[in-house]
Symmetry: C2
Subunit: 101 residues, 2 copies
């Protein structure tokens, strides 16, 4: 399924309803830095997020060092942000909440 | 257990015996980019590497996008490279070999 690039107003609306996700300087990606208690919690979060990513067939760019996971989401095929990005972002927030420090 | 920073000659010797690991420009880290068939194989590699990292109590800095995993290893407490870095690097190479494309 092909997802359409979202209008900027819809992107802003989505971001306003979420916590700590920021629009990239390029305007075509969103990012968030997740912090956990330790590596096990961080990687456990990544595992839950990876299952969601594979299910949605939409994958993150992410960096991990010990208890921190920096995530960037974008839909390259659409040249910007789509519903897929916000769907994965919300799944990640949910996974992070379960491991809240 | 405290690991001692390795002499440069020992670092070079270790690197010479390994495949594709490169010494960072800073001289205190080693890096390698792993490539897999898809996200599932890449994340499966990361999972095996995460278990080794936790077992060794020595964790990577790593970036993943789809089928690629870029890894950087260093021992911050020692201000450079220690046996721990090469131990984890070898475990990662072994994990990657099992998923060779």
């Amino acid at each position: 399924m092909k997802y359409e690039r979202l209008e900027r107003a819809v992107v802003d609306q989505n971001l306003a309803a979420m916590s700590e996700w920021k629009l990239g300087a390029d305007g075509i990606s969103i990012s968030k830095s997740f912090k956990f208690r330790n590596f096990v919690e961080a990687f456990s979060f990544m595992t839950e997020a990876a299952l969601a990513a594979e299910k949605f067939d939409h994958h993150p760019e992410w960096f991990n060092v010990y208890s921190r996971v920096d995530v960037t989401l974008s839909t390259h095929d659409a040249g910007g942000l789509t519903e897929q990005d916000f769907r994965l972002a919300k799944a990640m927030d949910k996974a992070a909440t379960r491991r809240a420090s």
